[in-house]
């Protein structure tokens, strides 16, 4: 047993400080393909005091700390540093306060996102961010990655719901930023520095979240297109008609075929794109908007537009989108889910470019995603053991990111940079931006103890 492990065992006891290799191997990865590392030990604190103690120890002994929740990240952000400490907050999962008067909920970082959604729902409220992994992802991880979800167009992302944070800084100091006030301009908005910081600036231990009233009604539509551009134009026209749907999800041709093969939901195999559209709010308004959206889709060449008449039918229409990832993930041994994002107006161009690039490098890519906010998920279906193909995948991916940036977009819409996108970041944001980020990192974590080597070196 290493010295670090034996020292920290004194803090947490043998049950919450793991160093057996059979434990370490299982904390060696997150949801990202082909990235792993072996930590020296895994710490499972149950209180902020314990977190502070571990961080102080790490700072004093210059041992790297990688913070994680359930390990569902898609950019390798929580992959351990060899020999370092994995600080897993999954057991810090207390709900501290649900406050319907102020529409807030305060939780520890290890609380699972789904639980927050359910608690809000129980009092007639909504926690809008709904990342695909919400059934197991933790709020702490969502904040650290600034996660998105299907409702970004209308409701925004995790950042838009964070009112306050408790953070353990790199020297072990415990600080709080933000409060229940809707308006607060006392000094810098420090909480925003930590949102999306991927565990490199501090350890988020508590989160105060804002909730919103639950919409009274929802309508679901599914439209099929034989032209990619027609789908993209439909999206633009809907927004131009001053309708902000809560969901505008799309599937491309390859994804449609995989979905049909897997789930047999009756999608036309010759379709180039399908759009799943949802609008929520006041029942009368929602009904009117659904009618308008169906009309717009037809005007722009949709082959078929189905409007759900019952909640069961709505669920059936949403099936194709819901199973999209599963359908793709079954096709090949390795599935790489990317999240290149462009301004909405450039969507058709971007999707076409992805398809051309995939053909050019002879790799299989299915694309689906959040058309309403420009966030695409080109998904590479490959095999990490096939080195020749993996090399082509890398090349295709680099070109796709370059093109997204050229269109005024970004290399990552909601997964974060972590290890997976590190190489693409300098080109995407430029040297000056990168240096500003580095300065911030040096100021808050001078010894480079917190998640070193992530985002940038």
């Amino acid at each position: 047993m290493q010295k670090v492990a034996s020292d920290l065992t004194k803090v947490l006891g043998p049950d919450r400080l793991l160093w057996e290799r059979e434990h370490l191997l299982t904390y060696g990865f997150d949801g990202t393909a082909a990235l792993s590392g072996e930590a020296g030990c895994v710490a499972l604190p149950k209180s902020v005091a314990e977190v502070a103690q571990i961080v102080r120890y790490a700072a004093a002994n210059r041992v790297p700390i990688v913070t994680r929740g359930s390990g569902t990240g898609l950019s390798g952000g929580s992959v351990p540093v060899a020999g370092g400490i994995v600080l897993c907050l999954a057991q810090m999962d207390q709900v501290l306060e649900l406050d319907p008067k102020n529409l807030t909920i305060r939780v520890e970082s290890g609380v699972v996102t789904q639980k927050v959604a359910e608690l809000a729902d129980g009092v007639g409220l909504l926690y809008p961010p709904d990342p695909g992994s919400m059934r197991i992802s933790t709020i702490g991880g969502n904040v650290a990655e600034n996660s998105g979800g299907l409702r970004g167009l209308k409701y925004g992302v995790t950042r838009d719901y964070v009112m306050g944070l408790e953070v353990v800084l790199a020297d072990g100091e415990v600080v709080s930023f933000g409060n229940k006030c809707v308006k607060d301009v006392a000094g810098y908005s420090m909480k925003d520095v930590f949102i999306g910081s991927e565990g490199t600036l501090g350890v988020i231990t508590k989160v105060l979240l804002q909730l919103v009233p639950k919409p009274a009604a929802k309508e679901t539509l599914l439209a099929t297109f034989s032209q990619m551009d027609a789908a993209a134009e439909t999206v633009s026209a809907i927004i131009a008609a001053k309708i902000i749907p809560c969901t505008l999800e799309f599937l491309d041709k390859i994804t449609i075929r995989c979905v049909e093969e897997y789930a047999h939901v009756g999608l036309p195999l010759d379709a180039e794109a399908i759009l799943l559209m949802e609008t929520d709010g006041h029942p009368v308004v929602v009904r009117e908007e659904a009618k308008q959206m169906a009309e717009i889709a037809r005007q722009h060449g949709a082959g078929a537009v189905q409007v759900a008449q019952t909640p069961e039918e709505a669920a059936r229409l949403a099936t194709a989108r819901r199973v999209a990832f599963s359908a793709l993930a079954r096709v090949s041994p390795t599935t790489i889910l990317e999240d290149a994002t462009v301004p909405r107006s450039e969507l058709a161009d971007m999707v076409r470019f992805i398809q051309q690039t995939a053909a050019k490098y002879a790799v299989r890519v299915g694309t689906f995603g959040h058309m309403g906010d420009g966030n695409l998920h080109p998904t590479f279906l490959t095999d990490e053991k096939n080195t020749a193909e993996m090399a082509r995948v890398e090349k295709a991916m680099a070109e796709i990111f370059d093109h997204a940036v050229a269109l005024g977009g970004t290399i990552t819409g909601e997964h974060g940079v972590g290890l997976a996108k590190k190489a693409f970041l300098p080109k995407a944001i430029g040297d000056a931006s990168l240096e500003t980020m580095r300065q911030l990192k040096r100021t808050l974590d001078p010894n480079n103890v917190l998640n070193p080597g992530k985002i940038f070196d």
Binding site: T26, A90, R330
Partner: protein, 462 residues
């Protein structure tokens, strides 16, 4: 000598550890097609549905963690260790992870190979464990006559009053703690086994539409032989001629799940020989745990040049009884069962065979029966084959959770289609809800048919 080695040497001395060492080389996982291991995309979607992860919140106790270990072993970067052995025997094998897995990982197959590795490497070997495994897996469960003889002995023990006397005199206190728990779990053995209740061939009174084979199982045969009789009755009522071969062998699921893959193959071959597939429309099982395994013969024997083809045909004809009834259409019963019933889903029915709709269809076909949905109906009850014996603590936690959910429904009857679950629920009911009746859905349907017939006869004689 490192402290671990000293501890190990001491453990060997008192017979608590494997003298051959704490590690061994992998054979089965290494042989397993690598794509099976590689299919996991470690997204974590299985974590919230895994009963052991839910309890401990430790990655190692999750499907994703266990797969990572198995993959590392297959890659030769980790030996088969004692810690790995303990981990894989902490897994229930409930297969909930397979249901939620977006990537279609075949966890069950990996799990069986992992346990086979643990046994061939001998990392968990201890004298008592070896003895029990030899007596059960390598003797009793491969010899149908021996199994019935043991069943008969237990019946005599229970029916003669000897059991009552032993318990009364608290002689069970003389048993080791583990066995004491086991003693109280011993189910009531039936006086008559399936052979005595079901004739080799039974023909429906009306129009014969199908001919089916009926599997009578092991525990089902000894403890729930009446369920087998009910199954035959229900099949007859639905126009099926029922062929029930004498002295059937164990299907081998207990072997496959406990690291004896070769024995499992042997049992599979024996079952293939028991039925004349060409003359049957389907082979019917009413035990979920057996059914999931029986359907897997095609895969289990895919490398066997002699039996691979037959196994494929076998798997294609194998049906769970609810599945079969839903397929051919359920004859509406004339009698009613006016009871409030809830349905507990056996893991190997809902996760192992993805059968969830059909048992409910059976229950809903019964006039007067009020079906109340059970919260967490697909969450394991802790029976999990012999898990309630090997991991009593975790098993009891799951049983308590299940019994609480059942109590909330206010049902008088809980329907369940797996003998293991039924034994486990019975033991839960005896301590927390003595009035609760545990019944196979098919038994309830049989009752409705029976009552209909009786009413018919009454009308006729009147």
């Amino acid at each position: 000598m490192a402290i671990e080695d000293e501890l190990h040497a001491a453990a060997v001395k008192i017979g608590r550890a494997n003298p051959q060492g704490r590690e061994g080389a992998s054979k089965y996982l290494k042989q397993l097609d690598y794509s099976v291991l590689q299919q996991c995309i470690h997204c974590g979607m299985c974590l919230p549905t895994c009963p052991t992860y839910d309890e401990t919140k430790l990655e190692r106790n999750s499907p994703r963690g266990r797969i990572a270990l198995m993959r590392t072993i297959a890659e030769g970067r980790l030996e088969v260790t004692q810690a790995f052995g303990r981990e894989l025997y902490f897994c229930l094998g409930c297969l909930t992870c397979e249901t939620v897995c977006p990537a279609g990982v075949r966890y069950g197959e990996m799990f069986e190979h992992g346990r086979a590795d643990i046994e061939q490497a001998g990392v968990l070997r201890r004298p008592l464990r070896d003895l029990v495994r030899t007596l059960t897996l390598r003797w009793m469960f491969i010899r149908p006559r021996a199994l019935r003889a043991v069943g008969r002995l237990i019946w005599i023990y229970q029916a003669s009053g000897l059991e009552w006397l032993v318990r009364r005199l608290e002689l069970t206190a003389l048993l080791p703690v583990r066995l004491r728990g086991l003693e109280s779990l011993t189910p009531r053995v039936q006086r008559h086994f399936s052979d005595a209740l079901i004739r080799p061939v039974e023909t429906p009174s009306g129009n014969r539409k199908y001919r089916v084979g009926l599997l009578t199982g092991c525990v089902q045969d000894l403890v729930f032989s009446h369920v087998n009789r009910d199954t035959a009755d229900v099949l007859l009522a639905n126009g099926c001629e029922v062929v029930t071969p004498r002295l059937q062998s164990c299907c081998g699921s207990i072997h496959a799940h406990n690291g004896e893959l070769e024995l499992a193959r042997k049992m599979a071959r024996r079952n293939l020989d028991t039925f004349d597939l060409d003359r049957l429309d389907a082979v019917i099982t009413n035990a979920a745990g057996c059914g999931a395994h029986l359907k897997n013969y095609a895969h289990l024997l895919h490398d066997d040049p002699a039996d691979a083809e037959l196994a494929v045909r076998w798997s294609a004809k194998l049906r769970d009884v609810h599945e079969w009834l839903a397929e051919i259409g359920i004859q509406a019963p004339a009698g009613s069962v006016p009871q409030k019933v809830t349905y507990h889903e056996a893991c190997h029915l809902c996760h192992g065979q993805k059968i969830t709709r059909q048992p409910r269809q059976v229950l809903k076909a019964i006039p007067g029966l009020e079906l109340v949905e059970l919260r967490e109906s697909t969450w394991c009850c802790g029976s999990a084959g012999i898990y309630n014996i090997t991991q009593p603590e975790m098993s009891q936690k799951l049983l308590r959770r299940k019994m609480e959910n059942i109590a909330k429904t206010g049902a008088q009857i809980v329907a369940s289609a797996n003998p293991g679950c039924s034994v486990q629920l019975q033991s839960g009911a005896s301590s927390s809800n003595p009035k609760l009746v545990i019944a196979h859905p098919i038994s309830l349907l049989a009752e409705a048919y029976q009552k209909g017939k009786r009413a018919d006869r009454a009308r006729f004689t009147a």
